[in-house]
Amino acid sequence: MLRGAVGICGFLLLWECAVQLGAVSAQQLCPPSQVAAAFFTKLADPRPDGATLGAHFIASSSVALGGFLLACLIGLPLGLAMGYYQPVYLLANPIFELLRPIPPIAWIPIVTLLLGIGAQARIFIIFLSAVVPCVINAYTGIRHVPERYIHVGQSLGMSRWRIFTKICIPCALPTLFVGVRLSLNTAWTALVAAEMMASVRGLGYMIQMGRLLIQPDIIITGMLTIGSTGALMSALLSLIEKRLTKWGAER
Amino acid sequence: MNGFSERAAPRRLLRLLPLLSLLAFLSVWHLAALCTDLLATPLDTAKALAGMLFFPTSKVTLLHHVWASLCRVLAAYALAIAAGVLLGVLFGWSRRFHDYCYPIFELLRPIPPIAWIPLIIMWLGIGEPSKIAVCFIGSVVPILVNTYFGVSRLDPTYLKSAKILGAGQRALLTHVILPGALPSILTGMKVALSSGWVCVIAAEMIAARKGLGYLIIRSMESGDMVHILVAMILIGSVNFLFSWLFSKLEGVVCPW
């Protein structure tokens, strides 16, 4: 919308002027022009923290995606099983509910002490945070399958397993996707936290370094890169979701 | 309930399963602690926790840390509610304001609150204001978004009806818009509290002199596993308490 463009331009203009005219100290905030310059420089320049923007980005994304995929591979089946088979629920739920309130960042110290600060440690932390929405949404998705669908399956003589795979899982797919999207979001946020505290690579590390070296342009470049990557991944997932669940939630 | 078919498995056995799994969890923990040098056993952890809570002479600062974190989160939360509801209503109420300003919000929204920490610390130092600021950012977003959704999704018939019944602008706000959006606002507030708590801990872990986040980082640096676990349990418990309080609150504030 035109108004939106006007709004954003106005915002950027205000920002630029505020710094150029000295209303805000140049130490603390740099104008958007400088941020843009830093962005393009950093694409190729490994200074001052040892890697180009691209390298950081790849490091971050690979770790985040790794943890995310692991969380989906383990969390989704677990959640689905918990929703369908009561013994699984009774076994897994207490532990899950016990560990769930602990935020992912609180896991960082213990994981760092036990696994160091390599990529595996970060993947594990991301896994811990991303697995929660997967499990919860998979569980909820199965629980909300209308009874009558299951009855139809039973009256057709389908085995429990077939009902599970042919009826329940497709029905739960929309909720599953919401969970997957949430999971990716959570994974990305946990990644930033992990990188800020226990890493020598990645976008989170980059902005930490930016602070230590008092370079607000690098910090803001990093922040915007993190933000836009997160948004892009979300948008991509939404697209895939729309394609795969074209039949809609109710049939 | 669906999905669970009637099984022949005896009821009693099923009831025991949660207990068994908890016991298994504790045993695995205990074994792991004995095997590796680093982990602390459940027993040690429990002892330390009890010791700190009930015998404040050993570490009077534990509750002090919890209190410090709580103060920050609650201060930021109050600010976030005020700002979030105000902005959310403005966005939902005025088409113009929404069209001009919402894109700016959308630009900043995907940036995780944790990513704001370095910038905020650069601006505000490592005192109280920076923690409250980070927590504010984490809390204001869910409240704003949910308030906006609540206001914009309000059935226009309610507004028409209120106008017909003689409501002025202010009456429209207090009698129709705010109560109508309240369920949404409460959902946002619930998420915001949890999110704010996480942000405060994160901010404290990066640069602070007191608080649970600071405690956990200090314990990590000194390799003090017991205190790490104690801090984790406390952080998790507060989180759980917040969720529980909210579910009780919802029933009272929103009886419809």
């Binding site: - | 018939t157 309610y158 106008k163 017909i164 019944l165 003689g166 009698h175 109560p179 309240l182 419809w256």
Partner: protein
């Protein structure tokens, strides 16, 4: 405001993707003071749109709605009961009924008393503190009617108020509405797409049909005594003659601006 209300040459059009859609054209009629006027017609949108124009919620594209003195109607002088229950779910029965009085600035004591009277009038004693979700459809509409009467205005507009009710409740509510109207002596304009409802309720029936819609016919029922019954021979004859006119033979054209 006393006296008749004149709807003069009212027209309403809406811009749509493929041009302008004209819903009402040249609607011309008089609403007599204290009468029960029924607007009868098929479909949904033309009638609702006309109501909203009279209520001042929609500005007409042509024509006007004026009172006896020639000035436009003010919001204080009318009230509307909507098709979809417009009770506020976050207010109890009594709070919903007190609302128009609150907006007017009526003091608490007087509000309470009037609300209690109205609750009794619509037969909902005992439900003052219930929330709308606890009430049935018929009860909700009764609250809506009570709230409309609480506004103390001379003109009341009802937009298919009983459309969503089952047949039995509907019959009951129709009788209730006539009883309340006779007691409170206000001008009522009611929209319906049920010929039976129109015959049971109206002093006059105006047929609104066509595309774009306008007033096609007027029937005067003041000679039929109340309470009316559809087993009454003269009334049945009138019913048949209306049906024979075939006003709604060719309905169903175009997509209307429906909500």
């Amino acid at each position: 405001m006393v006296g008749d209300i004149h709807v003069k040459g009212l027209g309403l059009s809406f811009p749509q993707q493929n041009g302008i859609h004209e819903v009402l054209r040249d609607v011309d009629f008089v609403i007599h003071s204290k009468e029960f006027l029924v607007l009868f017609g098929p479909g949904q949108c033309g009638k609702t749109v006309l109501m909203e124009a009279i209520a001042g919620l929609l500005p007409p594209t042509a024509g006007s709605v004026e009172d006896a003195q020639g000035s436009p109607l003010r919001t204080q002088e009318l009230c509307m009961v909507f098709q979809k229950y417009a009770l506020f779910p976050w207010k109890t029965c009594r709070q919903n009924i007190e609302l128009p009085m609150k907006f007017k600035g009526v003091p608490k004591q007087a509000r309470r008393k009037r609300a209690a009277d109205l609750i009794h009038l619509v037969g909902l004693d005992g439900f003052e503190h219930s929330y709308p979700r606890q009430l049935s459809g018929g009860m909700k509409q009764r609250v809506a009617i009570a709230a409309a009467y609480a506004k103390e205005c001379p003109l009341l507009l009802f937009d298919e108020p009983f459309g969503a009710l089952d047949a039995q409740t509907r019959l009951q509510m129709e009788q209730e509405l006539v009883r309340i109207w006779q007691q409170e002596q206000k001008t009522v304009v009611l929209i319906t797409n049920s010929i039976d409802e129109a015959l049971l309720l109206g002093d006059r029936i105006l047929v609104l049909a066509g595309s774009p819609s306008s007033i096609l016919e007027e029937y005067d029922l003041r000679e039929f005594p109340r309470p009316r019954s559809l087993s009454d021979r003269p009334l049945l004859n009138l019913r048949q003659s209306i049906l024979d006119r075939g006003f709604f033979e060719n309905e169903g054209g175009g997509d209307l601006r429906c909500e």
